[in-house]
């Protein structure tokens, strides 16, 4: 499956890009994708516990099973206001 991963806020600086393409096996969960992202960008692993994750425009947890073409966002705690 082909996925698009988007990084927001300072995560984009840490990852070195705003968007990245990932190819994963069918049935991959959001948590497993997060593992792969952290392997490629070890600095993101330091923030793993506080990282928020969304698929499309909705928050999802680590057990969420991804689908081909999904857009996944990783970002730090939000700070509106």
């Amino acid at each position: 499956m082909k996925l698009t991963v988007r990084f927001w806020s300072y995560f984009a600086d840490v990852a070195g890009c705003r968007d990245a393409a990932f190819e994963v096996e069918e049935g991959t969960t959001l948590g497993e994708l997060h593992d792969q992202v952290c392997e490629q960008s070890p600095k993101l692993a330091d923030a793993r516990n506080s990282t928020l994750k969304a698929v499309g425009v909705d928050y999802q947890d680590d057990n969420f099973v991804l689908s081909d073409g999904d857009e996944i966002s990783f970002f730090p705690p939000v700070q509106g206001g």
Binding site: A54, D58, F75, G80, G81
Partner: protein, 130 residues
Amino acid sequence: MKAELTLSPNPIDEAALAKARSITDGMGAVVTFAGVVRDREGEAAITGIDYESFDDMARRQFELIFAEIEQRWPIESVRLAHRTGIVKVNEPSLWVEVVAAHRAEAFYACQFLIDQMKQRVPIWKKPIVT
């Protein structure tokens, strides 16, 4: 419940927003809140804050929060404006208005909206240090 959301790099015109207010005769409470950029972020002096927004998701999360408010309190309308991009010190980055028949629900809903926004709506700030 009517809900109006503005995410924009344009300055928030509080006077224009107040002038555009539309309420029915049974409403007795209008609570407004303006969040203004301070001149310090922690120990550092700053000239402003650069707000980054994941617009599509921010709109979705605000819609969910508005729906929760509608379930919890008898609110006639909510209007919210949040700046994106650079907001200078002393300028509002956030403006909220809640209209209800009575003040209790208007205050509760306004507080709830801002608290939820700070937990769920994907907007981030980067202070501009002097």
